[in-house]
């Protein structure tokens, strides 16, 4: 029983560092004073009721919005990049290369007028792949991985069900093997049975690929299934954070106790 045989050194450097990050909308607080670190392969959940600032935080992290104060730094090739300060073209290049965003509504993440294969292939071409045959082979392979019949490669996403569209969006994001993925309510608009399937799939993919992810959800069961660590937000502020099962099973803050007692998780 030689544990050192299995043990792999924990990576020492975080992938993402956020310090005292705030986003104000005039007088209103989107989120305030958020600080955390995210390590490679780690999955962080952000929970809280609607309006608590989850999506604002995620949008700032994913560089879709600019923080009003504070720092967001991404480790890239041995140095720290100050994400909000990057010039637009550099930021776009980084977004294509290093991270992906899964939107709640697949229409926001897919090109609805482009075939399923084209949606996946586009990301590969962005990443520098030029061989048409290879692009089609990888696209078919990814359709199969997200459980869409590869023979539907030339169909338009609008002919897919909501669950299939969401799986296609996930394939489009993961095909370029990002190091970091942001997801906003990835199972939001789907019925429960479709949700369970998608969650299973997401969990397997993210774990197999060793991707770090930040997942916003209001659903504590989703958080328990997918995440390693949890941040609980209320009124724009992180009121509690820690190991996911500890936060859910032994919540310390009054609000978290209320949240976990409202549903069976």
């Amino acid at each position: 029983m030689d544990t050192s045989l299995f043990s792999q050194a924990l990576s020492q450097e975080p992938l993402l560092q956020v310090q005292n990050m705030s986003r104000f909308y005039g007088e209103r607080i989107g989120c305030r004073n958020v600080s955390f670190q995210l390590w490679p392969g780690e999955i962080l959940g952000i929970v809280g009721e609607s309006g608590s600032g989850k999506s604002t935080l995620l949008r700032c992290l994913a560089a879709l919005d600019q923080p009003s104060e504070g720092e967001i730094q991404l480790a890239d090739g041995g140095q720290w990049l100050d994400v909000p300060a990057l010039p637009e073209p550099k930021r776009r290049a980084l977004m294509r290369r290093a991270w992906g965003i899964v939107h709640q509504n697949p229409r926001d993440g897919l090109r609805m007028g482009v075939s399923a294969g084209g949606n996946i292939g586009e990301r590969l071409m962005d990443a520098g792949e030029r061989n048409y045959g290879e692009i089609r082979r990888v696209a078919r392979d990814w359709l199969a991985r997200v459980e869409i019949d590869p023979d539907r490669i030339d169909d338009l996403p609008r002919h897919f069900s909501g669950g299939m569209q969401q799986r296609l969006q996930i394939a489009r994001v993961l095909v370029s093997e990002p190091r970091l993925v942001f997801m906003d309510e990835p199972t939001g608009g789907l019925d429960v049975s479709v949700q369970a399937k998608l969650l299973d799939l997401l969990r397997a993919l993210v774990r197999d690929m060793g991707i770090a992810a930040v997942i916003v959800t209001h659903d504590l069961a989703v958080a328990r299934l997918l995440t390693d660590r949890l941040m609980v937000m209320k009124d724009g502020v992180v009121i509690e954070q820690g190991l996911t099962d500890q936060v859910l099973d032994d919540p310390q803050h009054a609000y978290t106790q209320l949240l976990t007692s409202a549903v069976l998780v």
């Binding site: 029983m1 544990t3 050192s4 299995f6 043990s7 924990l10 390590w39 780690e42 369970a196 399937k197 969650l199 299973d200 390693d228 660590r229 820690g242 190991l243 099962d245 500890q246 099973d249 032994d250 310390q252 803050h253 009054a254 106790q257 209320l258 007692s261």
Partner: protein, 233 residues
């Protein structure tokens, strides 16, 4: 060789939404458990046995004291360790076995049971064969192996969970009534599995409500004295 050292551990729960009542459950708990030992936690219902086990696993937050666990030749304090360190410890050193299977939707029984072997680099064929042997030992018939356990009976799920938990040992195993509600034949298999794990050097800390079972597995016992009365804040 000690694997766990618990020093001055206290645990209280503050129920903010019930008038901030404070439940003082554990106070000044101290013990050690070593490799090749099976330490039984005992005390009356509500004394805090499960709470203590969950503290050891990092599932509950320790109010005071330290919970040292030997992980990869180092002592790590679960009470203060970072979330990612606790996850690493759980992956390699520390496992928790209850009577409940956390169902992984859609994964077949045989894959659930062989999973821990695959994670340790055992080849797929050998892993599947050993998983089958383990399931047979626990009287799960082959016709169920290809199915996901979501639709199994409570007792079948419980045995799948035990098969998965004992197929590859972690150096420390925490057991919360793993034999509860099993029939005598299956209970005896679990007792065998526990004793085999112990003889191979695993450190076990367990809760068993059945004194007959305790006598068959215990090498040491730790008494948790009766819980205090809840005090209003």
């Amino acid at each position: 060789m000690d694997m766990i050292r618990v020093n001055g551990v206290s645990k209280s729960f503050t129920l903010h939404n019930q008038g901030a009542a404070t439940l003082q459950v554990l106070e000044g708990i101290a013990f050690a458990a070593g490799a090749g030992e099976c330490l039984i936690l005992q005390g009356e219902s509500g004394a805090g046995k499960s709470t203590l086990l969950r503290l050891l696993y990092g599932n509950y937050k320790c109010t005071r004291g330290e919970i040292l666990v030997r992980h990869d030749e180092q002592w790590i304090d679960i009470a203060t360790a970072q979330a990612r360190t606790i996850l690493e410890i759980r992956r390699f050193t520390l496992s928790y076995v209850s009577q409940f299977l956390r169902v992984i939707p859609r994964v077949s029984t045989i894959d659930i049971v062989s999973g821990p072997l695959l994670a340790r680099g055992v080849g797929a064929e050998i892993a599947a064969r050993r998983a089958g042997d383990m399931l047979s030992r626990l009287n799960i018939p082959p016709r169920l192996w290809g199915l996901a356990p979501a639709t199994f009976s409570g007792g079948e799920q419980q045995r799948v969970n035990i098969a998965r938990s004992f197929i590859a040992h972690t150096p420390i195993m925490l057991l919360d009534e793993p034999t509860a509600s099993l029939d005598a034949a299956n209970r005896d298999v679990v007792i065998e599995l526990i004793n085999e794990a112990r003889k191979s050097g695993v450190c076990l800390v367990g809760i068993f409500h059945d004194e007959a079972v305790r006598q068959m597995v215990a090498t040491a016992r730790f008494d948790i004295l009766t819980a205090k009365q809840p005090e209003a804040a």
